[in-house]
Symmetry: C2
Subunit: 207 residues, 2 copies
DNA sequence: GAAAAATTTAATCATTTGTTTAAATATTTT
DNA sequence: AAAATATTTAAACAAATGATTAAATTTTTC
């Protein structure tokens, strides 16, 4: 006779709070989340939140830092690697990033929403702008297509990869799309996006 | 002797509140916006907000409806027009949509953020899923590339067009990008995106 | 120009919400 | 097992916040 085994109940109180907070923050955002929502979702007494994390803001800051790492930490090593080709970088990025986003589909919208509200404090932490202009990836793009700003192609790659996860709620209206078929589509894109990027990068402007 | 002429001061109180609210809501989101923020930004007494709009929620609902119209109302006529070619639709969309977004860069992130928090009520209003599966545009994509889900190409088009505006805050970190050069880049994309979409749609899978 | 209606203001209310407190309970140390 | 420490709980606090009220002022109507 195995127990129903709620996997959450074994966790430490601190971990229960953090996981519940991560979920509620991601769904509602910082401002719309009440500490009581978190306490209820975690199944703990309200005061324990402050006992373990001091304040709602400090709890959020820790979680946001982890999320920034999940969302941007993966890009930097790929884009700055000087030993890989342009094509290989695109391939690795699409594969690894879509895998991350399938496991964490609410990540981009959550992070970008909060950046909108705290532009200074958060954009300073991540310093992602550098990657877009001076990384090995940017240099390779510039070498391949000297006439265009490399940012154009980076935006194509990121847009094709990330945008579907941001727009996911739109697709789920009506019976248009369920989670399973969405994930199948996204998995297909792991191979499709590198091919599309090749097409975009190879075809010079025909004017 | 001409007056300093604050253009806002001539507006009706109702209009002043609505414009201030639109700005503050777009920047901070519904939950993080206090009615006092709006009153201050509008330069009016707090009670006037409720006098003209009954509640913060009703004020927000009206504004959100307008924003949904701005963001999605433009897509439908283009995608459903049976008299235009696939290429023409893409061209028209990129041109018209980028124009809209340059004038209203915070629109996509604002709308998508709020949809995340109210998935049911808002996705029902817009019914955008239909456009992606049954519109003339979707049919033309299916005819051109029968082996792939048309959604793939729609996500490419939307991703390449909309994503830069969602990721704009990331670019503005450090001195990487200012508003003027961002807008120049986006204007370039009006022509580039149709070319890129052609490349993507013409090149069949080479396996 | 007086009466009526609409608008604006200052003050206040009731609730929500993040946080704290002090007591109770559980765990660890000696 | 007693003492010390850590954790948990219920209750309460203080500030913030959406909304209302009643009086004052302005505008419109007759």
């Amino acid at each position: 006779m195995t127990k129903p085994a709620d996997p959450e109940s074994n966790l430490s109180t601190e971990e229960k709070i953090k996981r519940a907070a991560t979920e509620v923050f991601a769904q509602k955002g910082f401002a719309a989340t009440r500490t009581r929502d978190i306490a209820e979702a975690a199944g703990i007494n309200l005061a324990l939140l402050n006992y373990y994390f001091r304040s709602k803001q400090k709890l959020f800051d820790g979680i946001m830092l982890e999320k920034l790492q999940e969302l941007f930490g993966r890009i930097a090593p790929i884009f700055t690697d000087t030993s890989t080709s342009l094509e290989k970088k695109i391939e690795t990025f699409a594969d690894s990033y879509i895998e991350t986003l399938i496991k964490n589909p609410e990540l981009p919208l959550f992070v970008l929403s909060e950046i909108r509200t705290h532009p200074e404090s958060l954009t300073q932490i991540i310093q992602i702008g550098e990657l877009f202009t001076t990384s090995s990836f940017a240099q390779q793009l510039k070498a391949r297509r000297p006439e265009a700003n490399p940012l154009h192609f980076i935006m194509c790659l990121l847009g094709m990869t990330v945008f579907p996860f941001i727009a996911k709620p739109l697709l789920k209206s009506k019976a248009a799309m369920d989670d399973a078929s969405f994930n199948i589509l996204m998995t297909e894109r792991k191979q499709l996006i590198p091919m599309w990027m090749d097409s975009i990068l190879q075809n010079p402007v025909q004017s």
